[in-house]
C-alpha cells in the first residue's frame, strides 16, 4: 500500500483476540494500538488519531453503538466491527450508525486483512465519485461515459438500476445496509422499503450475473444488505 504505516486502533476486551489481531496487523506493516474498554478506546482515538478502528461490539463498559456515535462526532476514520453471529440486529444498527464493515467471529486473518484494506482504500478516496472506469473481473463501470459492461456486452440499465449499481460499485468490497442503499438511491423518505430494493436488485442481478442464483458480483448479506465483490 502507501509508504506510511497505517495506524490501527483495536478496541477489544478479549486479550487473546487482541493479541492475534495485533500480531497479524503488525506483521502486515500496520502500527497498532490496543484498548481494552470503550472509554479507553475513545481516549486513545483522541490522542493518537488512528486511520482505522477495529471495534468489538460486546464491550464491558460501553455499548458498541455508543462508541461509534462518539467517534463519528469528530472522526471519519473507517470502523470495522467484530460481532458474534447472534448479534445480527446490533450489527445492522452499528453499520447504520456509521460503522464501515463487519466481521463475524470467528474469522480468518485473511478476511480481516481484506476488510481493513477495503476500508482504508475507501477512506483514502473520501467516498468521492470517481470518473475513472472501474473494472472488477469481467465487469466494467465507466461513470464518465455513463456506461456499464458485463464481459463485452453493454448493459442496458434503467436510471434507478444505474444509480443503484454506481452506489454499489463506488463502495465495492464494503457491505451496504438496506437502509443506506435506499437512502442513497431513493432518498431519505423511502428508507424502509426493503421490498422495493430487492425487486431492483433482482433485476440488476438478471442483467449482470451469468447465473443470478450463484452471483459473482452482487453478493447478498442476509439480514444486513448487499456487497459488490471487489476482486
Amino acid at each position: 500500500m502507501s509508504g506510511a504505516k497505517p495506524r490501527v486502533l483495536i478496541i477489544e476486551d478479549e486479550k487473546p483476540i487482541r493479541g492475534f489481531l495485533s500480531a497479524s496487523l503488525a506483521g502486515e506493516g500496520h502500527q497498532v494500538v490496543e484498548a481494552e474498554t470503550g472509554r479507553e478506546g475513545l481516549a486513545q482515538a483522541r490522542m493518537w488519531v488512528p486511520e482505522i478502528v477495529i471495534l468489538d461490539l460486546g464491550l464491558p463498559d460501553l455499548d458498541g453503538l455508543e462508541v461509534i456515535r462518539e467517534l463519528r462526532e469528530w472522526s471519519q476514520a473507517p470502523i470495522v466491527i467484530l460481532s458474534a453471529r447472534e448479534q445480527e440486529r446490533d450489527k445492522v444498527a452499528a453499520l447504520d450508525a456509521g460503522a464501515d464493515d463487519y466481521l463475524t467471529k470467528p474469522f480468518g486473518i485473511r478476511e480481516l486483512l481484506a476488510r481493513v484494506r477495503v476500508a482504508l482504500r475507501h477512506a483514502a478516496r473520501g467516498g468521492a465519485a470517481d470518473a475513472t472506469p472501474v473494472t472488477i473481473g469481467d465487469f466494467t463501470l465507466d461513470t464518465g461515459a455513463r456506461r456499464a459492461f458485463a464481459g463485452d456486452h453493454e448493459l442496458h440499465l434503467t436510471p434507478i438500476e444505474y444509480k443503484l449499481l454506481t452506489t454499489l460499485v463506488r463502495h465495492a468490497g464494503k457491505v451496504l445496509t438496506h437502509r443506506f442503499l435506499l437512502k442513497e438511491v431513493w432518498g431519505p423518505l423511502r428508507t424502509d422499503d426493503v421490498h422495493c430494493l430487492r425487486v431492483f436488485m433482482a433485476g440488476l442481478r438478471q442483467k449482470i450475473e451469468v447465473d443470478p442464483s450463484h452471483p459473482r458480483y452482487l453478493l447478498t448479506e442476509q439480514g444486513v444488505g448487499y456487497r459488490f465483490a471487489d476482486e
Binding site: P212, S213, G223
Partner: protein, 394 residues
C-alpha cells in the same frame, strides 16, 4: 389430566362394586317400600276380581325387582315379606297367619328361588362390569406409565446423545489443538517446515470444527427456547440460494455446484437469515456425507402453493429406515466401515425447526439416478407488497 381420568374410572368401579359387597339398611328399606307398593297393586287386582295367580304375580315382580336392584339379602327379605303379606292379606282367613295349604309353601319356595337366582345373576353381572372397569382403568394407567417411560427414555436418549456428542465433538478437536500446538511450541525449532505447516493446518481445521459445533448447539438451544421469531419478507429465492452458496464456498471447494432456478419464478415470503441457514446446513451435509469432488445440485420450483427448495447430491444416498431419523437431534448416519463423520448431528434438526417455524416441512428422498435429495417446502401465502408503478420516473 391423566390422573383425574384414572380417578373417575376408579370411582365408577367402587360405585358398581359397593351394593354387591354389602347391602345397606337402605336397601332393606327400599325392599319394604317396594313390597308395600306390590301389596297395593295386589289389592287393586283383588278389587278388580282378578284370579289369585295374578296377585301372586304382583308379589313375584316385587321380589324380582328387589333382587335385581338390591341384591341377595334384601331379596330374601322381600320373599319372606311377600309370602307373609300374601298369606295375611289375601288368603282367608284374612288378618292372620295360617298356611293351611301346601300350595303356599310352593309359592314361597318359588319366590325365594327367583330372589336367590336373580340376585346371584345380577351380582355376577355387576362383578363382571366392575372387573371390566377395573381392567380398563388399569390399562389406562399402564398406557400412561408406558408413555411416561417412553418420554423419559427419549429425554434420557437425548441427554446421552448430547453427552457423547459433547465429549466427542468438544474433546476431540480440543485434544488435537492442545496436542498440535504444544508440539509446535516445544519441538517447533527442530521440526521441518512441512511438519509445522501440517500441525498449523490441523489446529486451524479443528478450531473451525469446534466453532461449527458450538454454533449449531447455540442455534438449536435458541430454536428450542422458543426464542425463534420468523421475520417473513417477500424475496426472490435466487438471493437466498446465492448467499447460502457464498457462505459455503470454502466447504464446497472442488465440487461442481449446479443451480436450477427457473426464470420468472415468483417471490416467496420467508425469513432470509433462517432459510439461508437451512440451505447452508443442507449443503454442509452434502459436503460431509458424499465423496469429495461429486456434484451438488440446488434447485427451486413452485408447486401447489409452495416454494420447493432442493439440495441433491451424488453420494451413497440414505437407507429408507434412516430417512426420517436423520432429522432427529444428535442422530448420525453410520455406515458399516465408514469413519464417524465430523458432523454435529444437529444440522438437519435445525433445518427441520426452521421449516416448521415457517409452517412448511422438510424431508429426505432418493435422488433419481442415485444419491440423496433434501426438499424444503415453504408455504406461499398472501401477496407481495406493491410499490408505486412510476418508480422509474424518480
Amino acid at each position: 389430566m391423566d390422573d383425574s381420568a384414572t380417578g373417575t374410572a376408579q370411582a365408577e368401579v367402587s360405585a358398581v362394586a359397593a351394593p354387591a359387597s354389602s347391602a345397606s339398611w337402605a336397601s332393606y328399606g327400599w325392599a319394604a317400600v317396594l313390597m308395600a307398593a306390590c301389596t297395593l297393586v295386589a289389592g287393586v287386582f283383588r278389587h278388580s276380581g282378578l284370579a289369585e295367580a295374578n296377585i301372586v304375580m304382583a308379589f313375584l315382580v316385587g321380589v324380582l325387582v328387589v333382587a335385581a336392584w338390591h341384591g341377595r339379602g334384601p331379596s330374601i327379605f322381600a320373599s319372606f315379606a311377600g309370602v307373609l303379606l300374601f298369606d295375611v292379606l289375601f288368603v282367608p282367613p284374612f288378618g292372620s297367619l295360617g298356611v293351611s295349604d301346601l300350595q303356599y309353601l310352593i309359592m314361597f319356595a318359588v319366590m325365594l328361588g327367583v330372589a336367590l337366582l336373580t340376585s346371584a345373576l345380577t351380582e355376577r353381572i355387576r362383578r363382571q362390569a366392575a372387573a371390566q372397569l377395573a381392567m380398563a382403568a388399569e390399562r389406562d394407567r399402564l398406557r400412561e406409565a408406558a408413555h411416561a417411560t417412553r418420554l423419559q427414555a427419549e429425554a434420557e436418549r437425548l441427554r446421552n446423545a448430547l453427552l457423547s456428542s459433547m465429549s466427542h465433538d468438544l474433546r476431540t478437536p480440543l485434544a488435537t489443538i492442545a496436542g498440535a500446538s504444544s508440539s509446535l511450541l516445544e519441538l517447533g525449532s527442530v521440526q521441518d517446515e512441512e511438519t509445522r505447516r501440517t500441525l498449523l493446518r490441523t489446529i486451524s481445521d479443528e478450531a473451525s470444527r469446534l466453532n461449527h459445533f458450538v454454533e449449531n448447539l447455540l442455534q438449536m438451544t435458541r430454536l428450542q427456547a422458543g426464542g425463534l421469531v420468523v421475520h417473513k419478507e417477500w424475496q426472490p429465492v435466487e438471493e437466498v440460494i446465492g448467499s447460502a452458496l457464498g457462505r459455503m464456498e470454502a466447504a464446497l471447494a472442488g465440487r461442481p455446484v449446479h443451480t436450477h432456478v427457473p426464470e420468472g419464478l415468483p417471490m416467496a415470503p420467508f425469513d432470509g437469515v433462517l432459510v439461508e441457514q437451512a440451505l447452508v446446513n443442507l449443503l454442509d451435509n452434502a459436503a460431509k456425507y458424499t465423496p469429495a469432488g461429486t456434484p451438488v445440485e440446488l434447485s427451486a420450483a413452485v408447486d401447489g402453493g409452495q416454494m420447493l427448495l432442493e439440495v441433491a447430491d451424488h453420494g451413497p444416498g440414505i437407507p429408507d429406515e434412516e430417512k426420517g431419523r436423520v432429522f432427529e437431534k444428535f442422530h448420525r448416519l453410520r455406515r458399516p466401515g465408514a469413519t464417524p463423520q465430523a458432523g454435529t448431528g444437529l444440522g438437519l434438526a435445525i433445518c427441520q425447526a426452521i421449516a416448521t417455524a415457517h409452517g412448511g416441512r422438510i424431508w429426505a428422498e432418493d435422488r433419481p439416478g442415485g444419491g440423496a435429495r433434501f426438499r424444503l417446502a415453504l408455504p406461499i401465502e398472501g401477496s407481495p407488497p406493491q410499490f408505486p408503478a412510476d418508480e422509474e420516473g424518480a
